[in-house]
Amino acid sequence: MRLVISLFASGLLILSADRAVAQSATGIVEIDGSVADRCLFTTPSETISVGELALGGTGTQAGRLDVAKLNGQTRTLAGWCNGTAATISVEAMPLINRSFQGAPPTGFETRINYNADALANRVTASDTSTTAGAGTTIPVGLFTGDVVVTVSGSSTATGGLLVAGVYTSKIIVTLTPNVSFGGGSK
């Protein structure tokens, strides 16, 4: 009689090597970066040349400031700010006679004051040249596009005659980025 010894170790091996759940390998590349708060004028300057500032003719107003020359003058700058905390301010500097030195004689004027507005992103910053320094700084936020500068309310201190000479001034618009950093998330 043939004696066959069969060892069913294979059954045990199958149990112990039972297929595990498939294991995957996962790669993750995290990317981060930042963008700094900035403002930039892409059209940084314009010029308002009004020519003769005094009224002509022979009437009682002759030789005095022609307010129509300045009032309503407008120029369009262009710029942007990329942060929500950005602000805008404007500083109007008086038109000063650069040809005449010293205080004007009584009845004469060497200084012309005016108001300046700067409209950007539907908000308007204003200043008057009667006081030194910029006007109130206001939030302008995130914007790109026009910064419209408008002159109004021109006047002299006493309504006197303008001293002959070259008058110059500046309107300075300042865009300030401030810091608006917030956390980004996917």
Partner: protein
């Protein structure tokens, strides 16, 4: 009984005792089986994850638009963290790649962008030779799982390289809003059962 008779009986007796029996064998059989689970692992260490953080820094160039060197910056900053060695026990592993756009929580408006899209590319060396590249654009859903053309190369060297390119804002002229930006590339290498 005479002398000859006694000898004959003795001889017969010896013959009966020493006559060969019929041959009888026994056999032993050991059956052995086993299995190898389908799995993918990261070497060295047999882990299951790889990757790095790529801190790109300032994303905008001087004019406020998206920087144009982000692809090279991605590779140089990511460095060795962008390469890995992954092996799988199965013949045709699958790879899924999902590029998640780089975004900021800061809201954007017309002319601005708070989102940077890009293409992620994962190059995988396979045996006996060749490179399979699985790509995904962050504007699209994940790519794959896609079966590789062969087994992942197991030659002791890295067999995966991750790159990223074609970084872009939705509109090319968009200015980036200030803020922190984050994005991600997810890669899943599965045994492909």
């Amino acid at each position: 009984m005479d002398k000859f008779t006694k000898l004959a009986l003795a001889a017969l007796s010896m013959t009966l005792i020493t006559s060969p029996a019929e041959a009888q064998s026994v056999n032993g059989t050991v059956d052995i089986t086993g299995s190898v689970a389908p799995k993918c692992l990261v070497l060295p260490g047999a882990g299951n994850s790889f990757g790095t953080l790529v801190a790109l820094g300032e994303l905008a160039q001087a004019d406020g638009r998206l920087a144009t060197d982000l692809s090279s910056r991605f590779s140089s900053i990511g460095g060795t963290g962008l390469i890995a060695r992954v092996v799988c026990t199965s013949a045709n592993p699958t790879v899924a790649v999902d590029a998640l756009e780089i975004t900021s929580a800061t809201p954007s408006t017309t002319g601005y962008a708070n989102r940077v899209d890009f293409a992620a590319r994962v190059a995988l060396s396979v045996t006996p030779s060749g490179i399979d590249t699985i790509s995904n654009d962050s504007r699209n859903a994940a790519t794959g799982p896609t079966a590789l053309s062969g087994r992942l190369a197991n030659n002791g060297d890295s067999n995966i390289m991750i790159t990223a390119d074609t970084f872009a804002t939705p509109v090319a002229t968009d200015l980036l809003v200030a803020g922190s930006y984050t994005g991600r590339i997810d890669i899943v290498i599965a045994p492909g059962l």
